[in-house]
Symmetry: C2
Subunit: 260 residues, 2 copies
């Protein structure tokens, strides 16, 4: 199974990934990985269709403490589409002068809506097709640049449609907020000051909460499975969508304008 990892923080936070654990633990994760780090509106996008254990790109990400407020990462087990760079998550598009990053865990069967807008898949995965459809529908739903509330309402309408066609665990970010949708499996951890054990760490992901934190700092982590023991990881429910903004879950809505 693919692994999703996301982070949303209210101040740029160091995230360091070690692929050693994931690669050792799960031999099936040989079909590539990718990580996108937002730095304000800018984006660093590292992908490799070679396994995380041997990739020089993984080595870089492991050693380079990039400060980011929104991170989306994916370790791939190919189920649809051949193992190739163009099929490696996360995918990136631009909409309304913002980069949008999308990573998906699961399979969609027969979800091939027509793409009549400005977004077309480059590779051959069901995931990228669904992402292009999502961007197209967001673009159609809003004449101008929408607020996070408005985006969240639209996403709440849209995400159940592909989800009917299979499992649709996903992470989506535009550098402001991180949207997480659970279809079968996704967990959320929200951390705030004081940062207890100082570091959240397993073999795969460490976030340095301790260094230079202030009482105002908040960080939220989303992962397929909990990365630590003894912390309050919340299992998301099938069909649940979370909006993470400023390092915490925020309510999406009110969405009356959608129904009206």
């Amino acid at each position: 199974m693919c692994q999703l990892l996301g982070m949303n923080a209210n101040v740029p936070t160091d995230v360091m990934f070690s692929f050693a654990g994931l690669a050792t633990r799960a031999d099936e994760h040989r079909d590539g990985f990718g990580i996108a780090f937002f730095e304000d509106r800018g984006l660093r996008h590292f992908i490799d269709h070679h396994g995380a254990r041997t990739s020089p790109v993984a080595e870089l990400v492991k050693r380079y403490p990039i400060k980011s407020d929104n991170v989306v990462a994916h370790i791939r087990k190919a189920t649809q589409g051949r193992v190739a760079l163009e099929n490696t998550h996360p995918f990136v598009r631009e909409l309304w002068g913002r980069y949008w990053v999308f990573a998906h865990n699961g399979d969609l069967k027969g979800f091939m809506p027509p793409l009549h807008g400005a977004f077309r898949p480059v590779g051959g995965t069901d995931s990228e097709h669904a992402f292009c459809w999502l961007m197209q529908e967001l673009a159609k739903a809003h004449a101008g640049v929408p607020s996070i509330d408005e985006l969240s309402c639209t996403l709440r309408e849209l995400l159940p449609l592909p989800a009917r066609h299979g499992s649709f665990n996903l992470l989506l970010s535009n550098g402001q907020a991180l949207w997480a949708h659970c279809s079968t499996q996704l967990h959320v951890l929200e951390r705030a000051h004081p940062f207890g054990a100082a570091t959240l760490a397993d073999e795969d992901l460490s976030v340095d909460f301790a260094a230079h934190t202030t009482p105002q700092d908040r960080v939220a982590i989303v992962a397929t499975t909990p990365l630590t023991q003894g912390e309050r990881w919340q299992a998301m429910q099938p069909g649940e969508m979370r909006v993470l903004l400023g390092g915490r879950t925020v309510a999406a809505g009110p969405c009356s304008w959608v129904r009206g």
Copy 2:
């Protein structure tokens, strides 16, 4: 001045960049760098708004022999837009299910055409605005996916417009061809079998021509200034556009359908 480097080859070719030379030679190149490598339809995109001398990303690119058939690279001296990740070339957009990569050397004064299409700048540079306009106009000019010939004809019509507003040396690639437009300074070198001295190299760029080449192999390099001595670098003329395909310059056109 910014430095442009591009490569187009008929088989995936190793390109290795050493930023040591550029960084030492030109102290003004402290405002970031970026490199995009196509691997078939897929794209690796490395950018950093830190100088190439100190960047871990530069270190990776220097050590990782990525095989690519189309490369676009840029070392930045900021003239417009603040030094930030979102202002770092090359820029990437998707059109017709292909990634498009754009890097620009020069300044455009007062070229701010309306962007009414699907492409908006994320950062604040004149370059990214011009790129978004170019993508918009390409999208408008072709109902379906155009051929390289058709694209070249459209580009030949479009590129003179921004070029009237300043200097517009640029590299553009969709992973199939590399288009180079010279406004003030750009040089091209085309190499074919037998690959004489085996390696084209200076402190900044080395392309391994010797390893595993066959008589059919061809590579074209485009650079702001010639990278080697004693080779047949051709200075492009102001206003000239080159279409590099399969490692050599090809004719663009006939373009009668544009005039018709």
